[in-house]
């Protein structure tokens, strides 16, 4: 039994459609676990089941060693940060933060003190008397975090907290979020569809697809050894190139072989397969080069200074260590 979060065989449905098909997952105490997946994967549903906002059709949810599967959201000792922040528009920042404390009967003075302290930790202590409509997106997010912090719950749930921020704020805020997690030592489950965000802040990532867990591991494990073709294709930008088992880089017994765009070497002459450049995108120091080898389309990522001419034919090669082999069920081989 873990002091963090434990999910055993959790199932859920929306009407007749099964949205979670048996989730087994744990998060250690103080861990930042990221649920990563495309829309429709079930990550928000899973978060809501953990929170108690959506009923579990089967399975067990344990928080800090306590079976909470039958408990209402208010009894589970969790706090949640919503994508839209869900701040009370009729309360100022201080009252927003202290809402949960007052709801549980904590006195006004103690609520004020604890709310102010949480605001300092979350970085919104300068705007305590303002109302949500007078705050920027980043400020609202900090208020939502302070509100989650003030009750010192066993588990923090964050539902795509960075999605409503502009691109610049997102990078800055994810650094603050990770720093906050380390300072407070809280167990956090963070949902996102952004694999860059996931890799940047997670202790471990659980990749979800179609209501199932495809792989759980550290960001490095997910990157270096994707367990399924889905994980291989989802994590990485541009996505991993996937070829048939008997394609340009065959691996005996494999149904599909994957090569990351970064692992491809392009030279004008030498060993490799002839590849024709069909297109190119230059992004800062990177060039994403689209190529064709026979019937296969692929993408290579090279430094912008080394980029080839459009329409040129180059020799493309990949080291054996950089090949990822998958069987017919999409599972990793070797």
């Amino acid at each position: 039994m873990t002091e963090g979060l434990e999910l055993v065989g959790v199932r859920a449905a929306h009407g007749k459609a099964e949205t979670l098909r048996g989730i087994d997952l744990t998060a250690a105490k103080g861990e930042l676990l990221v649920l990563l997946g495309p829309s429709g994967a079930g990550k928000s549903t899973l978060l809501r089941v953990i929170a108690g906002l959506h009923p579990a059709a089967g399975g067990l949810v344990r928080i800090a060693g306590r079976d909470v599967t039958a408990l209402s959201p208010g009894e589970r000792d969790v706090a949640m940060v919503f994508q839209s922040f869900a701040l009370f528009p009729h309360l100022d920042v201080l009252d927003n933060i202290g809402f949960g404390l007052r709801a549980r009967g904590v006195g006004k003075r103690e609520t004020r003190e604890r709310s102010a302290a949480a605001a300092v930790v979350a970085g919104c202590d300068q705007v305590l008397s303002r109302r949500p409509d007078q705050l920027s997106g980043g400020e609202r997010q900090r208020v939502a975090l302070a509100r989650a912090l003030v009750r010192e719950p066993a588990l923090f749930l964050l539902d795509e907290p960075l999605s409503n921020l502009d691109a610049e704020s997102r990078v800055r805020t994810r650094v603050e979020l990770r720093a906050l997690h380390d300072r407070v030592g809280a167990t956090m489950v963070h949902v996102t569809h952004d694999q860059t965000e996931a890799q940047a802040i997670a202790d471990r990532i659980a990749v979800l697809h179609d209501g199932r867990v495809e792989q759980v591991g550290t960001p490095e494990e997910i990157w270096r050894r994707p367990a399924t073709t889905f994980v291989a294709g989802f994590v990485g930008s541009p996505a991993m190139n996937l070829f048939p088992g008997d394609g340009p880089w065959p691996v005996g017994g494999a149904h599909r072989v994957g090569v990351r765009p970064e692992a491809l070497r392009l030279v004008a002459e030498g060993s490799g397969h002839p590849a024709t450049v069909t297109g190119m995108e230059v992004i800062g120091e990177d060039a994403w080069v689209r190529l064709r080898i026979g019937d296969h389309a692929l993408v290579a990522r090279v430094p912008a200074t080394d980029r080839p001419e459009p329409g040129a034919t180059l020799m493309a090669s990949a080291a054996e260590a950089d090949l990822h082999a998958f069987d017919v069920d999409g599972k990793r081989v070797g």
Binding site: P73, G74, A79, H90, A103
Partner: protein, 284 residues
């Protein structure tokens, strides 16, 4: 493009309003000539027991019926805003009385409230003390209570607006509240009520203005302004009688103006109150 509406506005609203304003200072019975008598109508109103009764009836009706109606519509809206089994039928049941034409509605209650043969008292007689059963149409206070009871069922419009307003509230705020442990009464007082306060304020204003109007048909059809002398004579009925039965158009016009001033005062007071609380409950 605007012309038909402007013509309608002038002919049907502004024109008659100006005529009424002018007539209030005159004596006119449709037959003879218009005789300008200054403030004499108002003086007569000030001394008229009938008008005092009408004014106090209207004001107390508004003071009791309007909050009750709003409370009822609000409570029902909070019960029925989510979809579920039989909810659709229940909503229709709440709205239906408002869809019935006013006179038909009044005649229905004339039968319901009949002290001897009406079903309400027949049912009450089976389990209540005979002396405690209201004599709906024959005792002054019971007749006034009857008119108020009648007005509690025509809350359809208010109910629909509150239903929509409740459904429009952000559901994530409620999910957050559930996670923070706010339920039941606390949730109602600290979340639902503040978030719906602007709509409730607006509906309170509206119903106050309308309360003068929706007392008219019931008083006319069910109680005929009685029991005597003026138990359920409300100001609109007073105006109607003086204008169309006694042919005292000037007098009736003066009474109409007093009604307008009262409505305006009530609306103004409420508006001030709402504005004071709007800053507290401003919705982003």
């Amino acid at each position: 493009m605007l012309a038909p509406f402007l013509i309608g506005l002038v002919l049907l609203v502004l024109g008659p309003a100006l005529v009424t304003f002018a007539l209030a200072f005159a004596d006119y019975d449709l037959i003879g000539a218009v005789e300008w008598i200054g403030l004499a109508n108002f003086v007569e109103l000030a001394n008229s027991t009938a008008f005092h009764a009408a004014l106090s009836n209207s004001l107390s009706f508004a003071a009791i019926a309007v909050p009750l109606r709003l409370l009822l519509a609000f409570g029902l809206a909070l019960l029925l805003f989510r979809r579920g089994p039989a909810v659709g039928t229940a909503r229709t049941a709440v709205i239906l009385p408002s869809a019935v034409p006013e006179v038909a509605y009044g005649l229905l209650w004339l039968w319901l409230l009949n002290p001897m043969y009406g079903p309400i008292n027949q049912i009450l007689r089976t389990f209540a003390e005979p002396d405690s059963i209201p004599n709906w149409l024959t005792t002054p206070s019971d007749a006034r209570a009857g008119i108020i009871v009648m007005s509690l069922f025509t809350i359809g419009e208010t109910f629909i607006v509150l239903l929509i307003a409740r459904r429009a509230l952000p559901s994530e705020v409620y999910e957050l509240a559930a996670i923070e442990g706010a339920t039941g009464w606390y949730l109602l007082r600290r979340v639902t009520l503040p978030l719906m306060a602007p709509v409730l304020g607006l509906l309170l204003l509206r119903d106050t203005i309308l309360s003068f109007q929706f007392s008219f048909v019931p008083a006319l059809v069910v109680t005929e302004g009685g029991p005597p002398p003026y138990s359920t004579t409300y100001v609109p009925l007073f105006v109607y009688r003086n204008a169309f039965e006694y042919l005292r158009y000037g007098y009736a016009a003066a009474a109409t103006l007093v009604m307008l001033v009262c409505t305006g005062a009530a609306v103004f007071l409420q508006w001030r109150l709402i504005r004071r609380y709007r800053s507290r409950y401003a919705v982003a």
